[in-house]
C-alpha cells in the first residue's frame, strides 16, 4: 500500500510539473544540500558557487531525465568523495527499507553469492517454531521473488552491500500481527513454503530522542573459557553499557573476549569510546577523529577502573556500520583487537538518503571520520585482519566460521 502511494505521489508530481523543472528543482536541492551540510566550507576544495554556475545551464539544456541525472552524478563526482550519489528512482524504491514494518519473523539474512540466505534465527521466534534453519535460501517473500530483486539492486554501482542486505531484510518484515508467506530452499534444496507470523522483534523497546523507537537486545555467554558478547545496536545505553561492563568484569579468568558486531548498524557514537575504555588500559588513546564543518572531534578512550587485558576479537560484516566501524576500526588501529569477518559497510557517518523532487534518491555524507591509523572509514570501511566469509554450506552444517576463526586465534594466543 505504501509503495502504491509513493508511486502515485511521484506520478502526480510528474504530471503537475514539466519533467525538466523537476530535474532543475532536484539540481538545486542537491547543490544546496552540499553547500549547507558538507563538512568542508569549500566542499571537496571546490568553489561550489562556480560549480552551480557551471552545471545549472547544463541541466537546463538536458534533453532527457537520464541526461540530467548523469549531469548531477558528474557534479557530485567532482567532490571525489564517497557517499555522494544519485540513485535512480526505480532502484531507490527498492532500497527504501521504510516499506517493511516493525513485525519480524525472527529471521536474519544476508545476500551470499547472489542469494538471500538465512544467517540466523532468533530463539523462540515464529521462524524457529516453524523449523527455519540457518543456511536456508529465501526464494520468495510476500509474493516477490528475491533473486531478481537482488540482481537489479546489486548491479547498481552506487548501492553498497549494506543497502542490498537491508532491502532484503525489509522484505522479511511487515506489520506486527500480520503474516509473511515465504518460499525457502532447505538444506537439500527442497522448496518449503511457509506462512510465518510477524511478531514484535527481539529485544526491549528503547527510545533515544527523536530516533524511532527500536528493539535493542544484548546477549553474552561463554564459549568454553572465552566470553562472547553481541548486541544489535549501540543504543539503550544504561542497559547495554551495564551488560558490557558486567561481561568484562566477570571475564578476569577468560582466555579471550569476542565482540560480535555483525549486523550492528551503529547508534550512539560515544558508546564506542565508552566500551573501548573497558579494553584499553593506556590513557590518551584515540579511536579516530571526526571532522565537521566547524569543529574536529577526537574519539578519546578513558581507561575504566576494571580493564580486560586479554585477547579481543571483533566480528564484523557488511551490515556493521557507523559506531560499529568506529569501534572496530579504532581498536584495530590501536592494536588492541583482531578483526574477523568481512569488510564493514563503509558508512561510519550518518550519510543521509533523501528523495529528490524528480523521484531519484540522493545520498550525502555529513562529516568525515579518520580512524586512528589514518584511514577514512567513510567509503572504505574496516577491512578485517582475517577475512572469513559466511557460506551457505557452513551454515547448513551448523557452523559459524567467523566465530570458529576467532576462537581458534584466541586459543593460539593463550598457548604457552
Amino acid at each position: 500500500m505504501t509503495r502504491l502511494i509513493l508511486l502515485f505521489a511521484v506520478a502526480w508530481s510528474a504530471l503537475g510539473q514539466p519533467r525538466s523543472q523537476l530535474d532543475l528543482d532536484s539540481f538545486e536541492k542537491v547543490w544546496t544540500t552540499v553547500r549547507d551540510k558538507h563538512w568542508q566550507a569549500r566542499p571537496g576544495g571546490l568553489d561550489w558557487q562556480a560549480i552551480h554556475d557551471e552545471y545549472r545551464p547544463r541541466v537546463e539544456k538536458a534533453a532527457s531525465h537520464a541526461e540530467a541525472q548523469a549531469i548531477l552524478q558528474e557534479m557530485l563526482g567532482r567532490l571525489k568523495q564517497s557517499h555522494f550519489a544519485i540513485i535512480p528512482a526505480p532502484v531507490y524504491s527498492v532500497i527504501d527499507d521504510s516499506e517493511g514494518g516493525p513485525g519480524s519473523t525472527g529471521i536474519d539474512a544476508r545476500v551470499l553469492e547472489g542469494h538471500a540466505i538465512v544467517t540466523g534465527v532468533d530463539p523462540g521466534s515464529p521462524a524457529e517454531k516453524q523449523g527455519v534453519r540457518p543456511g536456508w535460501q529465501i526464494e520468495r517473500t510476500h509474493g516477490i521473488d528475491l533473486d531478481p530483486l537482488i540482481k537489479q539492486v546489486g548491479s547498481n554501482p552506487a548501492i553498497h552491500e549494506l543497502q542490498l542486505n537491508r532491502a532484503v531484510l525489509a522484505r522479511l518484515s511487515g506489520p506486527v500481527g500480520g503474516t509473511m508467506e515465504a518460499a525457502f530452499l532447505d538444506g537439500s534444496d527442497k522448496t518449503i513454503e511457509l506462512k510465518l507470523n510477524l511478531t514484535a522483534p527481539r529485544g526491549v523497546l528503547s527510545s533515544f530522542g527523536n530516533l524511532p523507537t527500536q528493539h535493542v537486545w544484548f546477549e553474552n555467554k561463554r564459549i568454553g573459557s572465552t566470553a562472547y558478547v553481541r548486541f544489535n545496536l549501540f543504543l539503550d545505553l544504561p542497559r547495554v553499557m551495564a551488560g558490557f561492563q558486567q561481561t568484562v568484569e566477570s571475564c578476569k579468568p577468560c582466555d579471550g573476549l569476542i565482540i560480535d558486531l555483525r549486523g550492528n548498524p551503529g547508534g550512539i557514537g560515544g558508546m564506542a569510546m565508552g566500551m573501548a575504555g573497558f579494553l584499553v588500559d593506556k590513557p590518551n588513546q584515540r579511536l579516530g577523529t571526526m571532522y565537521l564543518r566547524d569543529s574536529t572531534l577526537n574519539f578519546v578512550v578513558n581507561p575504566r577502573a576494571e580493564v580486560f587485558t586479554g585477547p579481543v576479537a571483533v566480528l564484523v560484516d557488511s551490515n556493521s556500520a557507523s559506531t560499529s566501524e568506529i569501534f572496530a576500526g579504532g581498536l584495530k588501529d590501536l592494536g588492541r583487537a583482531r578483526i574477523f569477518g568481512t569488510k564493514t559497510a563503509a558508512a561510519a557517518l550518518p550519510s543521509a538518503f533523501e528523495r529528490l523532487p524528480n523521484g531519484d534518491g540522493f545520498q550525502y555524507a555529513l562529516a568525515n571520520y579518520i580512524s586512528q591509523g589514518g584511514q577514512p572509514l567513510e567509503g572504505l570501511g574496516v577491512t578485517p585482519d582475517v577475512v572469513v566469509e559466511l557460506t551457505r554450506s557452513a551454515l547448513l552444517a551448523g557452523h559459524d566460521p567467523v566465530v570458529d576463526s576467532a576462537l581458534d586465534w584466541i586459543r593460539r594466543q593463550n598457548k604457552p
Binding site: 527523536n210 551495564a242 550512539i268 560515544g270 565508552g274 574536529t296 577526537n298 581507561p303
Partner: protein, 250 residues
C-alpha cells in the same frame, strides 16, 4: 523586596554609567556586576544549589541538571539525560573531574582543567578581575536590534572569552569562545536571556548553548542561596580518586 532593590540598582547603574561612546571593558564588566545585584549581593553568596532542565531540541533529548557550588573552590554538577544516563562533573580544589556511564571517569588536565575551574567558580561574574587578567572593549555590535559592547576577556590559561553586554541594560546576552575539551577545541556560543532574580542576583533563566554540532537549551528553575552543603557532596568519587592517586606526582 529583592525585585525592588534590583530595580533601584538598575536605575542607579544607568545613571552612574559613563556617557563615553566606548567605555572601558572594566566599566562594562563592573556594570554587569552592578545590574545583576551588585558586588555586595555576590559577596553574600557563599554557597548555592541550583536546579534546571536541559533540552537538545533538534535531537529531542531532555534532561535535568542540579548544581552545587561553595566558596572558594568547590563545585559539583549532575546531569541526568534521557537515554544517556548520568553525567557528573566536579571541582575540588585543584582537581577537576568528570564521570559518566557513557565515557567513564577522568581527571581534567591542562587548559581544560583551567577552564573548568574558571567556569565552576561560584561568583565568576563578580570575580572577573581574578579570572581574566586582560580585558578589552572591542567595540559595539548590534544583536537582535540591540547595541552591545563586545568585551574580550583573556584568561591566564585558555582561549579568550568574548562577552556581549547590552548598552541599554548592561546585561550579558551572548558569549563566544573556543572551549578546550578532551575531544578537541570546540567553538561555543551561549545566548543568555530571560534574566530573573534568584535570591538577590539576576541570572539568565534561559541559556541556549551551541557547542560544535550540538545545540541545547538550559532553563534555570531555582537557586537556593547559602544552603549548608555537606563536604561529602564535593568529595571525589572513588573511581576518580583512584585516577588522581595513579597520576604521576608533579
Amino acid at each position: 523586596m529583592n525585585r525592588r532593590v534590583l530595580l533601584i540598582s538598575l536605575v542607579a547603574a544607568a545613571a552612574g554609567f559613563s556617557a563615553d561612546p566606548l567605555p572601558s571593558a572594566e566599566s562594562v564588566l563592573d556594570r554587569y556586576v552592578q545590574v545583576t545585584g551588585g558586588r555586595q549581593a555576590y559577596e553574600k553568596r557563599k554557597s548555592e544549589i541550583s536546579h534546571g532542565t536541559l533540552e537538545y531540541t533538534s535531537l529531542g533529548i531532555k534532561g535535568s541538571i542540579t548544581r552545587y557550588a561553595a566558596e572558594p573552590d568547590k563545585y559539583y554538577a549532575a546531569l541526568d539525560i534521557e537515554g544517556l544516563g548520568k553525567v557528573e562533573m566536579g571541582i575540588n580544589g585543584p582537581v577537576a573531574w568528570e564521570n559518566s556511564a557513557l565515557l567513564g571517569p577522568r581527571v581534567k588536565t591542562g587548559v581544560e582543567r583551567a577552564e573548568a575551574i574558571r567556569e565552576g567558580n561560584m561568583n565568576s561574574t563578580s570575580n572577573w578581575r581574578k579570572l581574566y587578567p586582560k580585558v578589552q572593549n572591542a567595540g559595539v555590535e548590534t544583536l537582535d536590534g540591540e547595541e552591545c559592547y563586545k568585551v574580550i576577556m583573556t584568561p591566564a590559561e585558555g582561549q579568550p572569552v568574548v562577552g556581549y553586554y547590552q548598552k541599554k541594560t548592561g546585561l550579558q546576552v551572548k558569549i563566544t569562545t573556543v572551549s578546550t575539551t578532551q575531544m578537541g577545541d570546540i567553538p561555543v556560543e551561549l545566548i543568555a536571556s530571560d534574566y530573573k532574580d534568584f535570591g538577590g542576583i539576576l541570572e539568565p533563566a534561559k541559556v541556549i548553548q551551541k557547542a560544535g554540532p550540538q545545540e541545547f537549551t538550559i532553563t534555570l528553575q531555582s537557586v537556593e542561596a547559602n544552603p549548608a552543603i555537606p563536604a561529602e557532596r564535593f568529595a571525589l568519587p572513588d573511581e576518580v580518586k583512584k585516577l588522581v592517586d595513579q597520576a604521576p606526582a608533579k
